[in-house]
Symmetry: D2
Subunit: 295 residues, 4 copies
């Protein structure tokens, strides 16, 4: 049972240009002229400026260009002077290139299963190179998908050792994106620094409400009428990173903590799946502690 | 332009019995037997127990009884021994009896308009006896509805004086329910004590996130992807009272604070309207810092 | 990998009483008195009448009674005269008794996976006795759950033969509930008659819009801004049976048919899972072509 | 009480360019280059193509240009050759120009009130030039807003006469947009032809389900679990025009037709308000029987 996302032919010629820079007149004209001159056809384009009068500018363009993969280096070289003239942060990526992804999980399987299933039917375009867990339990779920499973026990005592193993695995696997699919351990700064805006966590509350541990207990105690889940990039401040996606579900007085967990599972897996998909499609840009999600 | 909620004939014979007590076997049997013996027909019934093994029990029964208004005192007398045997908090109310309601408002009209309109078409079954505001602006909106409008300026300096006027107006009007329809002043303990679980506030955030002032600014700064509103009973701890209802709306990175306010207005007025309606229909019971809403 | 729903001790003493009859005064009193006299404690109770003035009455009571399983026959015998006096349709079921369930599936796996997963973590309280498919593809998904998989090819020519095999399997397996988890064949009258209000189908549209084949194509052609899914009991009229549950998701002009299918999958599996859960918990009553769902 | 939407200074320099044409390489480059050369700064831009390989192309650009109103004719002249070279349907409109709007209403006030209120606080940027009704009832609601109210009785007999009056009023008022705010009469072809894609109707169902009369009765009879409302452009085929916006609300078996109407009112007014706002902001393009809504 392997992922069926064999690259669709139309993906082969699809490229993405992502830009962020100070807003100035003429950026869109320069970019679209450049692409036109290269023979590229703009398929989709989004831009956003934090303030039309001198804010920060973000752009994502999807374009078709025959033989993109062969031409991509040339394209980058040719775009470089334009990028410099506007002092851009930028990248051009071929849509056909799969990111390498690692999934971390602890004892709850719902987010892991969701990610694996969506990947298996081609909704998540990536190579899932490994699943890492502090427990052995999930191996049976992962095995049929043919993905290596690493059981790395984690405790206060072996924390540094475990982190070293994690980093080795991630580097050896040339991982681009880390998904914390209900991984119930705090990620140490060593890993966070190395993978800035590349680690996606699902928090089981509607942040900023109920940050920290046991959010469903907190929600129950407060008597809220709606619970939620939040996918965010991991930063050093726990549960404070840029929010990518959130969603909610109604609850009422009859729901005990166990019910909130049950209902919450459905929100968590949907929210995480959407966030991962947008991230893999280069639809998410980070600006300060916020995200721009081009949908 | 007066409210069209002239009492529907079917309402005349409709009564409600509300009960809370320690859970014990036989409560429902005793209550339903009593009502049957009095010739009452149960139309709707809800119960909830915090724990089937010795928790707290809540019940709301809607029943039809011909000539209810004339018989209600007898009914109460007859139910009293049953209530005592189970050590119940209880009340029997005729559905035809309108509560007297006061609406407080400051400078934003959307919640006030929503309440007045729903009242005018009979959705909110109450006598709106007065609108009180710390500003004169809303008088023109209230006037066509034929409801007295009291402009009571409010500042740090005249706080005690204003509170005295408020209390006088409320007591003279024999007010049962106070609705804070975006009233941007803190309600003093004198009024809160006097009207326990009778003051409904609409807070313009998804509590407990963004309690306190300027919640839309807080939401913008945090970069949330969903905003909300919360209707709750007012207690002495600001924005900490029992939550009656909440709802949310999606937003994204393009929405500035002004957009959040605009989108939030629609959530606020819907949430407040629902909470007020349930309160007026005796559908809300308070247990500790939570509500049981029988829907 | 077997379902973890080993019967929770609290379930052993839990029973359900379901009633439907013409509305008359005194039903609730009679029922609650009976249960109290038998030593049963009412844990949850819902009732609904189509019309307080002489309509049809529905009731579902959940009660706790020690040693329920041993006493259930006595309980039924004792309740019988009460039931007769009100001319009730009724049943008393032990919550601990698992229904036997068969799942039919064709080529799409999302609904099947959802059902299997929820069953495996104990959310669906049933014995999944078999999965039947007109294709061999899903066997690998079913195998790890230890459930027999029957591949019964289906075509115009072998229709009667296939139906006979289906009926044999269902009868041999003593199946109570059939779930059509995106089974893309029409169920013949023989099976529908035999399993009235026991076959749950998921239709991939917001019925009654887009009944029949290719609903996502129909939705695309009409340019709707919201798509949905509908779980309903199967009757002889295609897509016309009593609706149990529906839900929706927003779409826009950019979504092609394939996108609608992808987005729709998430709605379908959630809607089907909820409908199956309510059905298994005896929360669904059928009245004419409508359902009463006690939630 | 007049609308507070005095033109915001930033609106004075805001223009919109709307384009539809066959898709060809270079359109975006040509448009953005043109705007840059004119000294215009692109503030927002959306495009959509029905098919990247030779489909139909739609674009909406919002740009800032100082002294726009004085320059707009020059701008149009200069853009004309580019438009011709791509065979575009196009228009350039100053955002500061208010459309003239007429609202039709019958006996239900909720949609009318919503439109008037949103207009009064500046959410709907338009001149509401008149309210036309086949009943006199709504005049008291309209009067405080200072908008002329025309009572034009409508019956089978006077149909042609009424239509002539309608057309005279609309033409004299130079109306751009007609909003049918629960106007319960069929619009004759004379008016539909004259105001193609300029008449917005709110239908009280989730189209295409329950087209035609009494949709809430139909929904009740079918036993749906969700009801909805649909805003669409009016075409000669009743309830078949291009859908602009839809939304829904959950209901259950307890809701009678009157409850569906009550719940539906809230959906109707929100859906209509959003559709009107997008239409006024030139965010809606029509393609065949579908809309492209750039949000």
């Amino acid at each position: 049972m392997h992922a069926v996302t064999e690259t669709h032919p139309s993906r082969e010629k699809l490229g993405r240009l992502l830009i962020s820079c100070s807003d100035r007149p003429g950026i869109i004209a320069a970019v679209s002229r450049f692409l036109h001159e290269q023979g590229a056809n703009i398929v989709d384009s989004h831009q956003y400026t934090t303030d039309p009068e001198g804010g920060f500018f973000f752009m994502r363009v999807e374009f078709q260009l025959p033989n993109l993969t062969r031409q991509i280096e040339t394209l980058r070289e040719r775009f470089s002077p334009i990028a410099n003239s506007f002092d851009m942060n930028w990248r051009i990526t071929p849509a056909a290139k799969k990111q390498k992804m690692a999934v971390f999980v602890s004892k709850e399987d719902h987010c892991l299963r969701e990610i694996l299933w969506r990947w298996s039917i081609g909704e998540l375009y990536a190579d899932i190179a490994m699943v890492i867990s502090n427990h052995p339990n999930m191996e049976a779920i992962v095995a049929p998908f043919g993905i290596p499973y690493y059981h790395v026990p984690f405790s206060k005592e072996n924390r540094d050792h475990a982190t070293r193993i994690h980093l080795e695995l991630l580097e050896k696997g040339r991982i681009d994106t880390i998904v914390l699919a209900r991984y119930m351990q705090i990620i140490p700064p060593d890993i966070i620094d190395r993978y800035q805006n590349q680690i996606i966590n699902i928090h089981h509350s509607f942040l900023p409400a109920f940050a920290g541990g046991k959010p469903y207990h907190q929600a129950y105690d407060r008597g809220v009428k709606i619970i939620g889940a939040t996918a965010h990039y991991v930063t050093e401040e726990l549960d404070q990173g840029p929010i990518i996606e959130q969603d909610v579900q109604r609850v009422d007085h009859r729901h005990q903590v166990e019910d909130l967990k049950r209902i919450g599972r459905d929100v968590e897996r949907m929210v995480l799946a959407r966030a991962v998909q947008w991230h893999l499609n280069d639809q998410v840009l980070v600006h300060g502690n916020k995200t721009i999600v081009f949908r």
